[in-house]
Symmetry: D2
Subunit: 208 residues, 4 copies
């Protein structure tokens, strides 16, 4: 964004780069349908993520989706599944593992199947982003204190500037949500609003 006026007044230390991508993390039915042990109190994050996703598509910003699925007996979930046995409900193809309609992938978009918290861990997300020349990763999804934070920390470690979209991420309660956004902004990422993401994608669109 060098030279554009857009970033003015942007307080954070990271500026968005020239080649952004958007990742929508784990917005599976498991987090939004009643009765699931992972169910969140609100669908606000998925509504916001849907709007951000539409804007990214219009601006031809590359889009990635993730969901969690384990193999037989979740042996590929290792120690993580021992710690959180409820994850076993994501063994194989299940209704709870399906992505929400608001953020349903298009046929040409990559859906990354993962087994751990970070979308980078045990996946080919990093080489895919690097081979596309991506320098900036906008992050939506759930949960803030879990896979969103783990992905944002790995994003900065792997060399991408992470932008976490406050309205498009969610958690079970406001306390872990806010505490984790605080840590992310302090050390690893820029926490921005949905409006920032929409405006930025719009500018990317006009620029190219």
């Amino acid at each position: 964004m060098g030279g554009t006026g857009f970033a003015e007044g942007f307080a954070g230390s990271l500026l968005p780069g020239k080649r952004p991508a958007l990742i929508v993390i784990d917005m599976m039915r498991a987090y939004f349908v009643e009765g699931s042990p992972f169910c969140l109190p609100s669908t606000g994050s998925v509504e916001s993520a849907g709007r951000v996703l539409d804007a990214a598509r219009k601006a031809q910003v590359p889009v990635f989706h993730t969901r969690v699925m384990f193999g037989p007996d979740a042996v590929d979930g290792g120690v993580f599944v021992r710690k959180v046995p409820a994850l076993r409900m994501l063994i194989g193809e299940t209704g709870l593992g399906q992505l929400m309609p608001q953020v349903a992938p298009k046929g040409h978009e990559v859906v990354i199947v993962k087994q751990y918290a970070s979308a980078f861990f045990g996946t080919t997300l990093q080489p895919t982003l690097t081979s596309m020349g991506v320098d900036t990763l906008f992050i939506a999804g759930v949960s803030t204190s879990g896979c969103v934070r783990a992905t944002a920390v790995d994003a900065v470690q792997y060399g991408f500037a992470p932008f976490v979209i406050r309205d498009a991420v969610g958690d079970r309660g406001s306390e872990p949500h806010e505490a984790n956004l605080y840590d992310l902004q302090a050390k690893y990422a820029e926490v921005v609003g949905e409006a920032f993401a929409l405006a930025y994608f719009s500018e990317v669109c006009e620029r190219e």
Copy 2:
């Protein structure tokens, strides 16, 4: 194998450990059906791998399978698919991507879907092995100069003793096959015969 007589006379510097696993790499139809650009001159490796697989199952040695599959437009194949465009025939579920009947996975066995040469790269193989306490990795599959070598090099890097089963790995020609087995034995792995693997698994079976 401390204290057993089995390893006596074993010339290599690595001894097999107490907790082996077997991995069968990429034995897809793409390597064995006529007309495929990847087709190998012989099915000897897959026959041998089938026998090793049976022995591992009898000895309750954990078994892993890999195959290659890419997402839409192989964008998740990054620079590798640019270098080897023929890999694009493995986009999505295809007949060429199916594993050969001699080494067909059982329902409870993990099948790792990968996009790159090494079975460790962009997968959760390492944490799965570590969380199971595996210390030794027997390797069958194809091709010797490609995914077998890349997996063996990563195995020793990630902390597992690699045992490459000479009869159960194959390549397009004897020259790259032998040249790569030479490098593997010299620096990274123990190259052993099928009989070694069968005898070792049998001993593991008796021991426990």
Copy 3:
């Protein structure tokens, strides 16, 4: 700990394994000397870590240390150093990068030099632990919301059961300290007291 009485009453879902190691993360002068921008309000964590370290040594539990050091211009700090420019004070060998005397490494102990938050990222910690047969990682160090959490999340991802020692980790304030211990206990690790670590190491010592 199978069959021992020690773990009775232990509420968490992960049990410590048979082969623990201890890691002491980034207890550099940068976190404990006045005037440093990273300075913590208390040295309680380093005192506790010193006692845990002594107990591990007595029990012959393997010990690892980490510290942060960057190369010329911190180019090897990538986007992380752009986000947290104060890290530039750890370029090259500096007084602030030295480990505190209470947790000074012995000559035979491995000191891992790292550039990022997680002690696993861009280091050979995982293969070292795997090649030693370690299954459980006790974690001390600073800061709770930074490198301690990032390391614990990676520990469970890489296949090790993480035990975070509450008394031996510290942060700038009690809010991020407690919020992060809450998340860690909920999803990734067991948060235990110093007394638990000392008792466990003592039992390991007697057992072998």
Copy 4:
């Protein structure tokens, strides 16, 4: 290099990108002084690497160096050092671990200390390259069948186009040298001559 004409007649499937870097791998005295168990028959590779290095510096192409060094008892060398015990001579700072004068690093250049074959394994090379926007990695160093090949395979896996400079890499014999260059060209990299590298760096220089 789009539209420049330079790549015309270039037979390989990968074209060099816009942001190259050069890595010089493990050109330590251990490979070039008499009496070392790793000694190569010729210093031709280091002379060529020196010329390539000078050209990269003139063109302001970023330069990286690697060397191998292990910690106490080479415990951080894991299974690799068990396989190749001669590596133990690289424990701590040693004369054999010093880089050759022809390729001595400048003070502002990053020297990556590694413990394994691939320059990417257990190091922060990938995030450093990604955070700099590098898309292409020119590779010099030793040995062709060891660390050079392992690094080139990882380069293509991590998303960088690898260009292996035939004249600037070397091995103990011509057979493993040629066999490995053959595999690299076939599957993972472009194998080019020193003249290609010099001309390409020169063009990069003029372009910017």
